[in-house]
Symmetry: C2
Subunit: 487 residues, 2 copies
Amino acid sequence: MEWKPDKSLQVPVYIQISDYFETRILNGEYPSGSSLPSERALAALLDVNRSTIISAYDQLNSLGIVKRVKGFGTVVTLQKNEEGNVKRVPNWEEYVKGGMRHLNDPITRQIHKIVGTDKPYLNFAIGELSPDLFPVKLMQEAHSQLELSQYLGYEHIQGNLRLRETISEHLRQYRHIPSTASSVLVTSGAQQALQLIIQCLLQPGDAIAIEDPSYCYSLPIFHSAGLRTYRLPVERNGIDPEQIVSLYKQHRIKMVFVNPIFHNPTGTTLSYERRKRLLEISTKYGIAIVEDDPYSLTSYDHDTRSTLKSMDQDGSVLYVSSLSKIVSSGLRIGWITGPQSVIQRLTDAKQQLDFGHSNIPQWIASQLLSSGELDNHLTKLRTGLLSKLELTVNALRAELGDEVRFQAPLGGIHLWCELPGEWDELKLFNLAIDNGVVFTPGSTLGSSSRRVRLTYSKVDDLLIPQGIRKFAEAFRSLNSATANKPR
Amino acid sequence: MEWKPDKSLQVPVYIQISDYFETRILNGEYPSGSSLPSERALAALLDVNRSTIISAYDQLNSLGIVKRVKGFGTVVTLQKNEEGNVKRVPNWEEYVKGGMRHLNDPITRQIHKIVGTDKPYLNFAIGELSPDLFPVKLMQEAHSQLELSQYLGYEHIQGNLRLRETISEHLRQYRHIPSTASSVLVTSGAQQALQLIIQCLLQPGDAIAIEDPSYCYSLPIFHSAGLRTYRLPVERNGIDPEQIVSLYKQHRIKMVFVNPIFHNPTGTTLSYERRKRLLEISTKYGIAIVEDDPYSLTSYDHDTRSTLKSMDQDGSVLYVSSLSKIVSSGLRIGWITGPQSVIQRLTDAKQQLDFGHSNIPQWIASQLLSSGELDNHLTKLRTGLLSKLELTVNALRAELGDEVRFQAPLGGIHLWCELPGEWDELKLFNLAIDNGVVFTPGSTLGSSSRRVRLTYSKVDDLLIPQGIRKFAEAFRSLNSATANKPR
Ligand SMILES: Cc1ncc(COP(=O)(O)O)c(C=O)c1O
Ligand SMILES: Cc1ncc(COP(=O)(O)O)c(C=O)c1O
């Protein structure tokens, strides 16, 4: 081989090598099926490290023109088309593997696959309401009142003005949060609000704190963004704010994500004292707080729990909520309220992401929230959720007795359960699926202990006992399978 | 000062220094209003470079506890609360500046501010239809046929199954593209499809090629993602595919973004020969193609122009389109079709971004597309757009004579104009706004020559002559202002 890489060039040596072979392969000098020199031989020949050759071959591999076959070395895989020209269609598998955004974990992907399909699972995994809990009448009324001779062009990117005014009034009335239409951004659920915050207010390498366990772990959005995440264990009264101080001192955390009321998955509520202390710490160290509050209007005891934002004197809190858990998750109406400068920054990003929210769901949400019928619906909803919780708890006790441990929540839609013994989470998940039941394994929510989240809001009352029975069967068969295993 | 940074530690020295002062400031040793040592003095004292001190002070500044005041050095700005404790609310301005996602440029931001508001601008900047071109009757019918007793939970994240089937049938019938429901992903407009492709199939440092000028330049989404973008000049017949070869050889571009039919902003269509050649090059070098096609159904001459995807034998093209330019942009219904593995990857990301599209607009879109009335609407739409184009062209000729140059397009909604002489783009933009007219300056679309894009689809027929007159007035007053300027 006469050619040698030129180490004085700016182009990295492994790229030079990969370019060299790419050209030769495209020219037909190495036909499909032939082998490239062995890594060791080529390294000696070109007078470079073997690792450089490996990088070069990896590069050719990712271009889709060679395959690295164990025991055979590096084999050319380029195809020719009918006219005899070399042909290399885009290597989609490589594109798919390469993207910056991380994939959901396999279990979450499996759970999502059945979202919105007609598969007859008893679904204790998804956080949405059962058909009888949706305010169908209210939705129909709101829907039938729309004229649709309205303007059908792009909506205001920050959200339809009337909807923002309605949300602002709703925040005042139901959550004691002062806001104005211009400090509200309409988002595609709380989900998109979290995503926008991450993309607009943080940068790779920044440190943040999130609850452990937490809904946040079910999302790779933090790690896709290159953030360092630190854990705040959730206790009976929620997180311990003092831990934020030490995280700050050690890691300079810039933001804390909390779901303080009827926390997903534990169902706990951050105590009043802790909420106060959290705000103090935030304004002592200048740490921003994101309050994710999808559940505060679902309290079974009618006690109001004040949102952090309603106690926030200094504007340290970004408040995120949505209609998903109280009206309809399919509408995809959520919002965020916070300082003007933040709302404007996020609005600009939303333009880039999706050019604003769809118009019709916004008009419907606005009708619905201002109809004066929300109170009646919420009362019905709370009663309905509580009865589903009781059915779930009773069924669990009947099936698993004291083996299963949990703290029944006072609101929300999730029951966080501890099951005894050593067991394999994935096995339980698959056995339950085989039995027609889906639940959320604890690890998906960042929990390292053996826990399961049973979300009781979606399953029909009549089917809850059956669902829990099937779940318990899966658990028991798992235990007996383990017990029968030869040691 | 007894303390010195420890250079043997992992923590960077500037962080050690900033931490040191932060603690002292929080302890009250440097009260609000006091100055920190000068950069020079401190550098000498601690035996480090002055640039290290600058980094440390910048860090304190970004924490919001000092301000760097010209001529005064670095001043502590920490406030105390009523109880006399130090108080530092999150420094939102710093958060807002810090995010990874880039901001839109100032002109684009100004244009978006008036989207969806009632401001009485004659809007030649936004790519949407005028009220008389929307299929209002069709929308009303589709709307009134909805039951809304349907399932109101999360939709399938890939998109409502019936809508995907309808889109697949539409693609076959109207665009000669074979697809199946499982190879279609419903997105929030073409916009979100582009965003998903970037986030899931590319990584920072990757090279891509985009048309020059192009809609893509109005979006910072490519640069936010850290991509290197290379330009493909758009000629009368579209881009020259051979340039892709040389870009590939030089920069290893991984993906080409094109809008081949009735291109935004030039209105040109990639010739049949060039389309064929583009596909050949794609499958010779393994370069993926993204075909963004919002306009192909708007041809004024009823000639069909085949989409790239309809000619794509090897699956090298990801095809993106939407209902924005033919039905209603406010619905936010777009889609992408391509290889299964890509669609699945993008679906997973869409779950993370917004948990799927809102349900009601999907049901409406599906009714509308399958109603059998689309043809009639499209015929009306084309006639309407052509008449708007003629009104615009006539008004331009009447106002600016041969001074303005353009190539009238055979479809689409944009007129790309060249205005003579040397003139200041931003001044023209602002003068036009003062005159009640908005247009898109060429630089927003990546053009370096003095061009303007006049989008004629939204303005009422009766107001087009007036709008163009006001635009021409702005242009003339700009010239006379320049002419009057003392030299
Ligand atoms: C704590 C929490 N945040 C956010 C979300 C996302 O909800 P949505 O995007 O539907 O508003 C959920 C849904 O389960 C949740 O439990
Ligand atoms: C070429 C092109 N692509 C994409 C878009 C985005 O359109 P939407 O997201 O509304 O489908 C536009 C809108 O102007 C466009 O012209």
